[in-house]
Symmetry: C2
Subunit: 176 residues, 2 copies
């Protein structure tokens, strides 16, 4: 599986991709440049938990989905669409068996967060004007060194997020 396919999958539960979309301002076939968010939001590691998930297969990660205060409030209140300034992020670590825990359990059953994955951090940033062409969300993806994922790899996931347009493009539900 190539990197683009992997990234597409990486993004599906949360974020990652902005497609090149047709400009809506003119009658021609002009394409607007995709808008990729290139900065990691400050303080994301302190954000509150939306939910957790495990992606098996090629991704093989375990992840925490977090939200800034605006996003968390909207999730808890059931506000749709999400307000301006909402940011939802996810951190993905390698999905690793814990020998230490398994020993304590006396059986193989414990899987924990290992080192950062290739698509370690992904965010969706709500700005309904700036990112109007992609549902009001700007998308981003970073490796563990904070390096944005290649633009070439950022072209295939928005159609996935469109599948949950009714939940404002967010796959992840708030875990109660």
């Amino acid at each position: 599986m190539n990197r683009i396919a992997v990234l597409m999958i990486a993004g599906v539960t949360l974020a990652g991709i902005v497609v090149s979309i047709s400009a809506v301002s003119g009658p021609t076939d002009e394409h607007a440049d995709p808008i990729f968010v290139k900065e990691i939001p400050a303080g994301y590691r302190d954000w509150k938990v939306v939910s957790v998930a495990h992606e098996a297969g090629e991704l093989n990660d375990i992840r925490a989905v977090l939200g800034n205060d605006i996003a968390i409030k909207a999730y808890r209140d059931g506000t749709l669409p999400f307000p301006e300034g909402a940011i939802v992020g996810r951190i993905a670590w390698r999905y690793e068996p814990s020998e230490e825990n398994n020993k304590a359990f006396g059986r193989d059953q414990s899987f924990v967060a290992g080192s950062p994955t290739e698509f370690y951090l992904q965010f969706m940033v709500k700005d309904s004007k700036k990112y109007a062409a992609t549902g009001g969300w700007g998308y981003s993806s970073f490796d563990q060194n904070g390096k944005p994922s290649a633009d070439a790899a950022m072209t295939s996931c928005f159609p996935c997020h469109q599948k949950v347009q009714g939940r404002d493009y967010l796959f992840t539900r708030y875990a109660r």
Copy 2:
């Protein structure tokens, strides 16, 4: 598997059990009453993430391990033992495949947080005097309605936590 065994397993990566321990104050065989924490710490759902994990088998949960500010600071700084007032908690949800995500992926690989488990919330509360007999931590466990787990079921996990005495009895490591 009976409930006690399940709870023992439930607690191993984080919390859950206080054993009846021998009183150290006298030469007799008197036993001190175990000290079970019966209150859910306020605001725990807003706490920061320590890590995430999946427990397969009987537990079949996916969990977020959180810490209050004192615990998070200690984790990040590598402070051992954890300071007074530190609380580490974990929320466990049923580990459920996400049909919606799998459809988007085009393959079965996505597992998400479902409804609360029987041992939904567990906490370790640091008070080195009050809980001196159990390594300075008080343990608690609650179902989704906030009902503490039965005392009878709270008698078998402290020996597990002792296996990681060198990390101040905490199995979960901070995920970076």
